[in-house]
Structures are given as structure tokens and as C-alpha cells.
């Protein structure tokens, strides 16, 4: 199979993957290799010493949540004695926004790509304010997590069991026609998610609990982000491992490094220091407060949505300097570095052209165009939370390094 065929095959697999939301379960029961004492995190591999504030905070929070530690110093002690293992979510078919910290007892969404049979997982979205994914671990954070795990998760599990199937690819396709781009803007998708779940929640939960759960989901315009990310992971994984392919199948950041993986380059990560996003800040914050880019949510761009589908989301054009045309141009630029137009995700403003899908390493390096990523911005200190949102591009070095590795591996 030559390179063109390999890339075609990899992207074809990504696009024909059909991710369904199958259920909600406990991480240790479903995520391959998940065990007590293992903490999954966003981005490429990283040791404790190099972790940034929000990731450290989230790790501590997870140890408290798991009951493995009593307090912060207890948690740090455990880690420093090497009693805690870290691994990227990506190594366990999992993705998580921002810190992405996932531990054995946490409830996770289970997504199955029914075309190719692979599974992907993501934790549950906590909403806004002080949340674990931004490194907060105060009692209220843990309390909310506790409620999500013990109250909401079983309801969602039952509701999903009661619903025939929840097709995330179809949900995303529809949301793109409603002004979402699937990464920074998930308002429409979250409402669609709520709409699809509501009757089943009403059926399986008591009215008090149903009200609580539906309100929690409805108040959070990012409710659907996590299942969407798992869906994107399921799609991207379907395209991974095609011999000879230069298609990028993962982009992820751990708050310190930005890393990518490439379909034809096995499990290797190509990393470089993550950059600080360029964006708009919440009141009282500025770029000085910002942490370097963090989170697995770049799996959305990897799968052909997010920043790549900017033309579908004119309401958030401010991220790309202001006019709807700039949003269109952002998407147009991404066509330059991708293999093809998506079969299912289309953009009304571009005459329903498919979104740019399948980042080709060669094109990125040749044209000097890095992927456009829409992202939230975390405070550099643990626990303060989101301070803004904006745009970031991966460092070019990761693509250059991958290209050189490809040349070595394939004797180019």
C-alpha cells in the first residue's frame, strides 16, 4: 500500500467509524488496564515533577476522591514515594478535557465505534466554576464529583440502557448545523444531548433526582463535550495503526508538553513544550495567569471538528479576530493540511462541504501551517479554574520530528 492509499484508508476508517454512546460505567470496570493507584491524565506522558499546576491539583483531587489520601501533603507523599502510577488517558482508550484526570472509581462514558468495534472512554463533565479538570480539589469540588458519581452516573447509565442508541456522530453533525464547532462551543450539542436523554431520565429516575440531573446537564453548555471527545477518540483510533500513513491520530497536551501521534508511527509521541493560548480572558485575568495549553480536547480537531469546523460557528468568531469570514477562512486554511472532506460533518456556510478531516503530517510541514485549535484556558495555579478561551496552535517541531521519524522508519 503506498502512502496515498495508506492515508486514504486511515481517514476513511476515521470517517466511517460510527460512535454510539453505550453507557456510563465505573472506570475500573471498563477501561482496559485501569486499576487502583493508576491516575490517567491528559496529553503525552509526564512525570509528577514536570506537571503544571492544574494537572497537579487534579491529581491530588483524584487521590482524595479515591480515598487514597487524607489531604494534600498525604497525596504528595504517596506520589513522591512512587506509590502512584501515571499514564496518559490516550494509552487507555480514554480522553479527558483539561487535566483529564481519571481514576479507578470515577464514572465514565462508554462509547463504541460500532463500525470497527473499538471502545473509547471519557469522564463526566463537571460544569463551570471550581472543578477538578482545572485542578481544584476543595471539598465542594469533591462533593460535586461524589454526587455525579453516585447520583447522576447511575441515572445516566439506566437512561442510556433504556434508550435504543445515542448516535454521537449524528448528534455532532446536527450540532454543526446549529452553530457549534464541537470543541469550544457545544451549546447546541449539549441541548440535543439533554433532549435525547430527558425522556429516559424521566423514566428511570425519581422526579426529584430527574430534576436535579436534567438541570445539571441543561445548565452546562459543555455537558456533551466529554462524550463528544470520546466519540472523536473512537473515530481517531479507528484510523490509527495504518502502516505507512502520515495522518495524525492524536493531538493532546498535558499542560507542559504538546504531543501528537501518527497513524503509521505506532505508539510514539512527538512532543514539544506546549504554548500559551492566545485568547480572551475572563474579568480579572490576563495571559499572565494562563497555564500552557492543556487537555485531550484537541481530539476534536484531530477528528475534523473544533477549530477545523470554525466556519460552522460564527457566534464565536471573536476567537479568530472577529468576522464570520475569518471563521470561514480558518476552516479553509485547515483544508490545506487535511486529507479530505468529512463524509458526515458538513458546514452550511460552505455549501455543506465536509469539514477538513485527517491532518496530514506532510502537508503541515510542507506548508508551514499548524492545526488551529479552539481551547479553554486554565489558570496556572491549581484550583482557580478557567480564565479564558482562545486559540492555540501546536508547536511546529512536533510535526517536523514526526516527519523525520517517519522517514527513518520507512527508509524514505
Amino acid at each position: 500500500m503506498d502512502l496515498a492509499q495508506a492515508n486514504h484508508a486511515a481517514v476513511e476508517r476515521m470517517m466511517t467509524a460510527r460512535p454510539l454512546l453505550k453507557g456510563v460505567a465505573t472506570a475500573r470496570d471498563v477501561i482496559p488496564g485501569m486499576r487502583d493507584g493508576l491516575i490517567l491524565h491528559a496529553g503525552p506522558p509526564i512525570e509528577w515533577g514536570r506537571m503544571s499546576g492544574p494537572l497537579r491539583g487534579a491529581v491530588i483531587g483524584a487521590l482524595l476522591f479515591e480515598g487514597l489520601a487524607e489531604d494534600e501533603s498525604d497525596a504528595t507523599g504517596l506520589i513522591e514515594r512512587g506509590e502512584i502510577e501515571f499514564a496518559p488517558c490516550h494509552h487507555h482508550q480514554t480522553v479527558g478535557p483539561m487535566a483529564g484526570v481519571t481514576s479507578a472509581s470515577m464514572a465514565v462514558y462508554v462509547v463504541e465505534n460500532v463500525t470497527h468495534g473499538n471502545l473509547a472512554f471519557s469522564n463526566l463533565n463537571e460544569g463551570y466554576g471550581k472543578v477538578l479538570r482545572y485542578g481544584a480539589y476543595s471539598p465542594e469540588v469533591l462533593e460535586k464529583l461524589g454526587w455525579m458519581n453516585s447520583v447522576m452516573a447511575p441515572v445516566l447509565a439506566d437512561a442510556l440502557a433504556a434508550s435504543a442508541e445515542l448516535d454521537l456522530r449524528a448528534l455532532l453533525a446536527e450540532a454543526l448545523h446549529m452553530g457549534d464547532e464541537g470543541h469550544n462551543r457545544n451549546k447546541a450539542g449539549s441541548l440535543l444531548f439533554l433532549k435525547l436523554l430527558a425522556p429516559h431520565v424521566a423514566r428511570v429516575a425519581s422526579s426529584d433526582v430527574a430534576e436535579e440531573v436534567l438541570k445539571f446537564l441543561g445548565d452546562n453548555a459543555l455537558s456533551v463535550l466529554n462524550p463528544v471527545m470520546a466519540a472523536c477518540k473512537a473515530m481517531a483510533d479507528a484510523g490509527h495503526g495504518v502502516e505507512g500513513s502520515t495522518i495524525v491520530t492524536a493531538m493532546a497536551r498535558n499542560g507542559t508538553d504538546f504531543g501528537i501521534r501518527v497513524s503509521g508511527l505506532g505508539g510514539d509521541w512527538f512532543t514539544a513544550p506546549a504554548q500559551v493560548p492566545d485568547g480572551l480572558y475572563f474579568s480579572g485575568f490576563s495571559s499572565e495567569d494562563a497555564n500552557a495549553d492543556i487537555g485531550d480536547s484537541t481530539i476534536t480537531e484531530t477528528a475534523g471538528i473544533g477549530g477545523f469546523a470554525m466556519a460552522a460557528a460564527p457566534a464565536i468568531v471573536t476567537f479568530v479576530s472577529g468576522t464570520p469570514k475569518d471563521a470561514v477562512n480558518t476552516t479553509m486554511e485547515m483544508y490545506e493540511i487535511t486529507e479530505t472532506d468529512h463524509l458526515h460533518f458538513t458546514i452550511p456556510a460552505l455549501d455543506f462541504r465536509g469539514t477538513p478531516t485527517g491532518i496530514d503530517l506532510r502537508k503541515v510541514v510542507e506548508l508551514g501551517i499548524t492545526p488551529r485549535i479552539n481551547t479553554g484556558i486554565a489558570h496556572r495555579d491549581a484550583g482557580i479554574g478557567q480564565v479564558g478561551a482562545g486559540l492555540v496552535r501546536p508547536p511546529m517541531e512536533v510535526f517536523e520530528a514526526a516527519l523525520i521519524a517517519y522517514a527513518e522508519r520507512y527508509g524514505v
Binding site: S283, A315, K325, N329, Y335, L367, E400
Partner: protein, 565 residues
């Protein structure tokens, strides 16, 4: 002491990004220390609290209310800032912004899939790679870039020719296709004169002169200055001639170049003859062999080339017919075989040699010339041979052939016996002092030679009707013997060329002639002004926002190039 002012706007929906922008704009106002603009949800109120922007008023607000908070140095600054909120919330309405500019050929062709041309003016180091990709994508090239190696030029042109596509350049500054100027071009009336030019300013000068003389240009095809070099072999010029030959709008062709090496001259002149249209040839600084050889007209300057072309174009239909010699009913088609020129007159021999060296190869002679091959042995002709039989080596111990025909009679028989000979060219010089009846001795020799086979004899007669030998009867005697008789050397040589020289066939497959007639649709890569110029002329063009591949990094470029193979 700073002042905190809060405004609550009940009811209304603002996207959080609009509000973030509003708050950034407020914070930028003079005298403003910090600002907040949020929907008053519990989370947002907590944020304001954390930033020290919370007030009693704000505590009262609910999730459907917009809170605008300003902390300023003075009361006035705060009031002023809040008074600007409405203005800051009003947005655009123009739908402004620039159109997308493609960054790669692939996406440029998505914007303009019907493009047939690529104009390439990137730095030379990258031009061959860009040109290759354009060829890969089925485009014809106008390659303005210079500093492309000759190896790359040859490879690009061979590759293009194999696919029936055209590469104008490298270092091609100008072309006119269907009235649209590429690169640098003058605004020239359209007409029936087509140009093939290996010289950019030559093309511009001739087309401008044509315009000034009232004529017009159908198409002007640039080839790049090196096209007629030996390595390249005039590939583009030959394609261009062939295109103009098949273009119904072109009646006269002008070919302009620096003087090519003889092998290329033969090839390109052979291609010019193959067009079946009158071709004005101007090889700068090249000694023209004649004003005209067959359908080829030789000019000595740019303006002359222009007026010759305009003149020919005026009588275009008639000119082509007149090309056929009235006495050549046996066909203008080439019969092949070798030429043997047996001259009594040294200058006639010399001029024939100069003219025919551009057409015949290998050409031998007892005379000297830069590309003329010497005879191995004086008594024997070989291949194409032109002999000055009046030269010293032939007249030792015998009379000059002007007065003694014996040697030429024997030599006619000798050459005629060589089955590879296709045409014998003779001169016949009359006048006082010359032989009293040369035709009386040569005509029987010609007739004798023609008895065994249909060997063509071409005779140029120099003389007047007052000469003692009687011009008319000399001509009649020669014609009776079966010879074709001409009273000027140029016509005689035209006949030789038509009979002996195969036209050079165009490179195959042909470039579709529709390339010239279809509207110009192009991708421009490099100098933006070329794109603007195309647009000004009403052609469709998309400008590619080009950057050196991989930022010009040699290692990465090499990998990418290898991956393409």
C-alpha cells in the same frame, strides 16, 4: 481611591464571547482599572467577587441579567465607560474580512478547478518543485522564475511534452494567450500573427510593432531563453509552432530567438516548415541564409520581422498557395536522398552552402565553414555534398568549369550512379567569356542520368536575355532534359529544401489547441502583481499565498520530495 460602578441590564442574551470582548474593550478605556461583563449566573458572580468587582447591586441580579461592572480611577471615568457599552455591543454588519487565499496548489484548484495554467514566479530554488506539482495536477506552465537548472528545465519539458502540455520558461517573462498577457505584456490588438519567442523583449517588441503597423497577434508563446539550447532541443518552441499551426486564428507565425546551434536550428526550422504556414524567422544576429527558403522568411531585425509578418498576414491565404512551385506538380513532398551540388560558380556554391547548412546534415564540401564537414577524398562525394568545382584542387591541369563542362558532365554521371542521391543541384553561368553553349553539353548529361531513374535536377541559371548564349534557349534545353530551372538561387534552394528535407514532426502527443482558444483560467504562484494583471484583463485567476516548502528547511524538503516519489 477607585470607583466601582455597576449596571444591571435585565433580560437579554449575549454570547459569553461578545461579553468577554466587551469587557476587554471597557478595560482598555482611559482611567478604567478593571471591568467585567457577564450574565449574572452564580458562577459568574463568584468570578466577579474573586476579582473584587462585586457590588450590592450585582448581588441582586439573576441569571437572565447582564451585569456590567467597571472599576475606574474616577467617577467620571466609570460613568463614561458605562455610557459606551451600547456602542461597544454594536457589531460589524459589513460581513467584512478578506477572502480566503489558498496556500497550496491543491486548495487553489479546489477554488478554481477549471484552471489550465499555472504562473510560477517563486524564487528559482523552489520553482522546479512548484512546476512539477503543477504538471502533476495537469496544468500548463508559465514559468517566470529564473535560476532553474538546465537539468530541471529538460526534465520539466520532457515530462510536460509526454503529457501534451506546455512549459513556457523558465525565465519566461511574457506571453500572450488569447489576448491575455502573462507576466509582462503589451496591450496588443488581436489578429492573425502568432509568435513563438525565446526572447521576452523580442516578443514584446515584435508584438508592439505588429500592433503599430495595424496588425494583430493571435497568441504569443514564450519558451524561455534556453529553450533553443542544445540540451533542451527547442521542445517548447516546437510545441508552440505546432500549436500555432493548428490554431485556426493564426495565419502567419513569427519565430524569434538568439541564434541556435545548427542541430537545433535544423530541428526548429524543420518544425517551422512543418506548420504549413508562412513563418518569419528572426534569430538575433544570425546571418540569414536567404530572404526566404520555402515558407520560411528570414528577418534581420525585430521591426523587420514585424513588418514582414504584417505584410504576409495581409495576403495570408495567397501566400501559402504561392509556396507551391508551379513546376513542382510532382509534389512538394520530400523525396529524401542526398544532395549533390556541382557548382561552376564559387560564390553560388558558397551561398548555397550557407543557406543549406541550416537544413541538411551532414553537409560536406570542399569549401570551409564552421559546421561544414570536409570531404574525405576530393574525388568522392558523401552524404550531402556541395562542391565548388572551380576551386584550385579541381582545376589543376584543366580548364575552369565555366568554360569546360567536361568534368561536370562526368561528375553528373558519377553522382547519378549513387543510389542514395536524391537531387543534383547545378549552376549555369552565361555571359561573355563563358562557354558558348553550356546547356548543349549539360542537358544531354541530365537527360542521360534521368533515363535510368527519376532523379531530380535543379539548375540555377545566371544570365540575361542579352547574353550571347541566349538565355531562353538555354533554359528551354535544360527544361527539355527534365531539369527544374530557376533564375535565382533562393528559389532553387527552396526547391532543394522542399524536396530533400523532411519536416520535423511536432512532439507527441500534441498540446490540445483548445488551450489557446479557451478562456484563460490560471493559478498564480509567486508575484502577486501577475495575478492582479490577469484579473485586470478579465481572466480568471486565483493567487496562491506561497511560502517555501517546510520553511525552506533542506532536510525536511528532501524528505517531502522523496515521499512524493
Amino acid at each position: 481611591m477607585s470607583v466601582l460602578k455597576t449596571e444591571v441590564r435585565p433580560g437579554g442574551y449575549y454570547d459569553s464571547i461578545v461579553l468577554m470582548q466587551l469587557q476587554a474593550a471597557l478595560a482598555d478605556l482611559p482611567g478604567v482599572e478593571d471591568a467585567g461583563a457577564v450574565m449574572a449566573t452564580p458562577e459568574n458572580r463568584a468570578l466577579l467577587e474573586a476579582s473584587g468587582l462585586m457590588s450590592d447591586v450585582a448581588v441582586e441580579a439573576g441569571p437572565a441579567d447582564l451585569l456590567v461592572v467597571v472599576r475606574a480611577e474616577t467617577e467620571d471615568a466609570a460613568t463614561d465607560a458605562l455610557s459606551r457599552v451600547d456602542g461597544l455591543l454594536v457589531r460589524g454588519g459589513t460581513g467584512g474580512g478578506d477572502d480566503y487565499r489558498p496556500r497550496s496548489l491543491e486548495s487553489a484548484l479546489k477554488v478554481l478547478p477549471e484552471a489550465r495554467w499555472a504562473l510560477v514566479s517563486t524564487p528559482g530554488r523552489f520553482a522546479a518543485g512548484v512546476a512539477r506539482e503543477a504538471l502533476d495536477r495537469g496544468l500548463n506552465l508559465f514559468l517566470y522564475s529564473d535560476n532553474v537548472t538546465v537539468e530541471d528545465e529538460v526534465a520539466l519539458k520532457r515530462r510536460a511534452a509526454a503529457d501534451g502540455r506546455l512549459v513556457m520558461g523558465p525565465d519566461c517573462g511574457t506571453a500572450l494567450i488569447a489576448g491575455v498577457g502573462f507576466g509582462f505584456a503589451n496591450r496588443v490588438r488581436r489578429g492573425s500573427i502568432g509568435l513563438v519567442a525565446a526572447s521576452g523583449t523580442g516578443l514584446q517588441a515584435i508584438s508592439s510593432h505588429v500592433h503599430a503597423l495595424g496588425g494583430g497577434v493571435s497568441h504569443a508563446i514564450g519558451t524561455g531563453g534556453r529553450d533553443l539550447a542544445e540540451e533542451v532541443g527547442a521542445l517548447t518552441a516546437r510545441q508552440g509552432l505546432d500549436l500555432l499551426a493548428r490554431d485556426p486564428g493564426t495565419e502567419v507565425i513569427v519565430l524569434v530567438s538568439k541564434p541556435p546551434v545548427p542541430s537545433v536550428a535544423r530541428s526548429v526550422l524543420g518544425a517551422a516548415r512543418g506548420t504549413g504556414k508562412p513563418v518569419v524567422v528572426h534569430f538575433l544576429g544570425f546571418a540569414p541564409p536567404a530572404r526566404r527558403i520555402g515558407s520560411l522568411y528570414f528577418a534581420t531585425s525585430l521591426p523587420e520581422a514585424a513588418w514582414m509578418a504584417v505584410d504576409l498576414a495581409k495576403s495570408a491565404g495567397a501566400v501559402v498557395d504561392a509556396e507551391k512551385d508551379p513546376r513542382g506538380e510532382d509534389g512538394g513532398a520530400s523525396a529524401g536522398g542526398y544532395l549533390r551540388g556541382l557548382f561552376a560558380g564559387g560564390t553560388l556554391a558558397s551561398e548555397s552552402l550557407l543557406a543549406l547548412k541550416n537544413f541538411l546534415d551532414p553537409l560536406h564540401s570542399n569549401m570551409k565553414g564552421d559546421t561544414i564537414r570536409p570531404l574525405e577524398a576530393v574525388p568522392r562525394s558523401e552524404f550531402h555534398t556541395i562542391l565548388d568545382l572551380g576551386a584550385d584542387e579541381y582545376t589543376v591541369g584543366r580548364l575552369h568549369p565555366m568554360i569546360d563542362n567536361d568534368m561536370r558532365v562526368r561528375r553528373i554521371a558519377q553522382e547519378a550512379a549513387d543510389p542514395e542521391v536524391g537531387l543534383i543541384l547545378l549552376d549555369l553561368v552565361l555571359g561573355d567569356g563563358a562557354h558558348p553553349d553550356p546547356a548543349g553539353e549539360l542537358a544531354p548529361a541530365i537527360a542521360e542520368a534521368r533515363r535510368s531513374r527519376d532523379l531530380e535536377f535543379v539548375v540555377v541559371v545566371v544570365g540575361t536575355d542579352e547574353d550571347p548564349q541566349d538565355l531562353a534557349s538555354q533554359v528551354a534545353a535544360l527544361e527539355d532534359s527534365g531539369a527544374l530551372v530557376f533564375e535565382d538561387l533562393t528559389s532553387a534552394l527552396s526547391r532543394v529544401v522542399d524536396r530533400l528535407v523532411e519536416v520535423v514532426p511536432p512532439p507527441l502527443p500534441p498540446v490540445e489547441v483548445e488551450l489557446l482558444s479557451a478562456p484563460v483560467v490560471a493559478v498564480n504562484i509567486g508575484l502577486e502583481s501577475f495575478s492582479e494583471s490577469l484579473a485586470d484583463q478579465g481572466a480568471q485567476a486565483v493567487h496562491l499565498d506561497w511560502n517555501p516548502p517546510a520553511g525552506g528547511d533542506d532536510q525536511l524538503m528532501a524528505i517531502l520530495e522523496r515521499m512524493r516519489r
